[in-house]
Subunit: 223 residues, 2 copies
DNA sequence: AACGGTAGGCTTACGCTGTAAGTGCGTCAA
DNA sequence: TTGACGCACTTACAGCGTAAGCCTACCGTT
């Protein structure tokens, strides 16, 4: 079908690369969910057959690992000379944004144990910012673990909420208040009622709250 | 094959139920990973054909949702009259233990938006403990979100580490120090070196550190 | 004692998945 | 001009979730 154009001129098809394959897989997963990003679907979006992908990727698992690494590549690195406190704040916000752009990423992380180059670079930069801020090696590890746990966990919760924005929350909360037998889950009902009456609540603002609690509790150790 | 025994006596096969199906699926996933827990494999472990499961479960998605809910059912509820601080501490430990027993659970959570009854009961009890401890509705929500984010995120990280215990960490750290081009990831190298020389570090203790930071930063608001 | 309904197994079949294996073309080096 | 090689292609297969329909053992009624 595309045979006629294949002459001496520059090929009618951009060459496949590992990066292009991973990028196509990410788009497919963003649009149709992780399960929708099949080898055939990814290949089709590149105008190619499924098996051609295997020239650039070891298999599906390798592809998923590459996708996760690419997400880390999208997170802003802490600026070189900046103060650690605002730098960590910005990084956390950027990380959350990247993980929300690619909702499949968090769910993939727990099954991947070999970090890619972008992941390593990112981790190294964060540790560096903390060390430069006066954190000891041990304390930097503590802080890093705590901050990242919070970020990943928050996004995980955020994605499993049955509502997306403030309006949907209001609708959902109303349904809950009406549907619930009133005293089976009294405290959930209390929270739901508060949101129905108050409204305008965005779960996203919870992220700021927790992040500030953690950042204010952390500080470099002077030894 | 099992035909002969089918007489008037009590049936040779325990009746299938949703609970038995979910329990079998959990065992299968614990042993062979989420991907290994196929409908056919689960059915086989119950001495039944795959399609029989559909009499008790709407489909694979429904089954996975039930499994996640069952994991929440394994988490200890905060004791009724206890102080909120130790109660939250115990719940966090119990939650981490349950999520570690079933490594597939965290990865499943982000794709499931309808909480099951055990999940609701659990959430209600935690909110109740905080409210009883003097937290306002808003503050209880903050605290809950922060604590759960930390727990989920920590387990997520824990599971994607390329080592399991202190010994494996030492081996891995040694490999990293030896294999790394020394100055591509200087701060990672620094941390790895510290672990090689010091040793005996268990990542699990990081959990305690972060948990205490958060618990100490939280307190009920007196309004 | 005989009967009809129903619950809950079973079998079959379909489209889709990841991927092993082998084929053939386009390009570049000598 | 020729040889080799990279890379996309085709074919094929086992295993997946599940729709549809069948079959039998049980139970309440008559």
């Amino acid at each position: 079908m595309a045979k006629s154009a294949t002459t001496t001129a520059a090929g009618p098809r951009a060459p496949l690369t590992r990066e292009r394959v991973i990028a196509a897989a990410m788009s497919a997963a963003d649009e149709k969910g992780e399960a929708g990003a099949t080898m055939r679907a990814i290949a089709a979006s590149l105008g190619v057959e499924a098996m051609s992908l295997y020239n650039h990727v070891r298999g599906r698992e390798d592809l998923l690992t590459g996708m996760v690494d690419a997400v880390f590549g999208e997170i802003d690195l802490p600026t070189a000379g900046a103060e650690w406190h605002p730098a960590m704040r910005e990084r956390a916000t950027s990380a959350r944004a990247a993980l929300r752009r690619h909702p499949w990423a968090v769910g993939l992380m727990d099954s991947r144990s070999e970090p890619g180059p972008a992941t390593l670079r990112h981790h190294d930069a964060v540790l560096g910012a903390l060390r430069a801020g006066g954190f000891s090696v041990a304390m930097a590890t503590h802080a890093f673990s705590l901050l990242d746990s919070y970020i990943y966990g928050f996004v995980l919760q955020e994605q499993s909420l049955p509502f997306g924005d403030a309006d949907e929350l209001r609708v959902t909360a109303t349904e809950i208040v009406n549907a619930m037998p009133a005293d089976t889950y009294p405290h959930l009902a209390e929270v739901a009622t508060a949101h129905v009456t108050r409204g305008g609540y965005d779960y996203g603002s919870e992220f700021e709250f927790g992040l500030d609690v953690i950042l204010d509790a952390l500080r470099p150790d002077e030894v």
